[in-house]
């Protein structure tokens, strides 16, 4: 049915109503400037866009669940394979997150001992999911 197909243009208003208005009136992007030079404006805009997106994600149902979990527990749950001190490498506009063991291995100095939690074999009924 025609009426159910559309509303195609309606979401465009999100960019005016829910994005720019929120950035300007909520996050003060226009009035509270950090300086007149371009680098300052770019830094302010980038951080604000990232903060805006983070807030948007936390306003989702899944985000609300995440928000109730403290960061250390979250890390234990989500990043077992990365260990407690993962390394973030940023090269040429791309980034990757590695465990220190993996990083040493890539650099040709494989660690003799790993502090990563021992993962059970896949065949084991106690395998972590």
């Amino acid at each position: 049915m025609a009426l159910r197909r559309g509303l195609a243009f309606r979401p465009r208003w999100h960019i005016a109503d829910d994005t720019y208005r929120e950035l300007k009136e909520g996050w003060g992007l226009e009035k509270q400037r950090w300086g007149r030079d371009f680098a300052a404006a770019l830094g302010r805009t980038t951080l604000t866009c990232l903060a805006f997106n983070t807030a948007q994600v936390y306003r989702l149902q899944a985000g609300e669940r995440l928000a109730s979990v403290a960061i250390r527990r979250l890390r234990r749950q989500r990043q077992r394979e990365l260990g407690s001190a993962p390394a973030v490498l940023y090269v040429a506009g791309c980034y990757g997150v590695f465990s220190l063991e993996e990083l040493l291995d890539v650099l040709g100095s494989a660690p003799r001992e790993s502090l990563l939690p021992t993962l059970a074999k896949p065949s084991s009924p106690d395998s972590p999911t």
Partner: protein
Amino acid sequence: MRGKVYAVDGSGLGDDFRLVALVCVSATRPIIVAWRLLSGQASEKGQEAAVTRQRVEQVLQVAGPQAISLLLADALYADGPRLAWLKYRQGIEALVSLPEDRLLYQDLQGLASGQLIEWTHHRYMRTIAGHKQVREVEVTAAGELTSWDGFTEKAARYGAPDASLWACLIRDVTTQEAAAEPPRALVSTRSFSDGFAARPRVSPALAHRG
């Protein structure tokens, strides 16, 4: 990013800067996926359309060639070659406001005034700031339009010699004052069953055809 409907728009930040953002609008909440801060001459209104292509390419590069299915934009972005590039180079449909001074707009008005296309009447409820309002619009649409040379010529270069556009006129007839305004137009690389399906900002649950 699960949503595939994006909108692009720019907004001035004071007198010196302009922010152009490509926002995913079909997710539960809008997410800014790519942005660019413009300054100097590039920040003047009208110049921002030039950076749209780069932002789209950026998203496709990171999220894959199927990441965007429909791009929504205002009249500032109504650029024939760019619509052709989106559709035939990137596989992205576009739905854009059409300015009144465009030939395609006048063609559509000519078809409507010559009664070659039919106006349909729609009545629906909209909610503004918590208040419900009945709104009435008249809509007419036409497909297979080929009078936008910038679009058809570029599409032909991309291997689509028979490319055409769909467009509609939407007239607010809720009040006599509103009805006296020129109708608003939308143009798309994609076909819709009628103009009402592409209309801006109405509540689907409460819409009904009059």
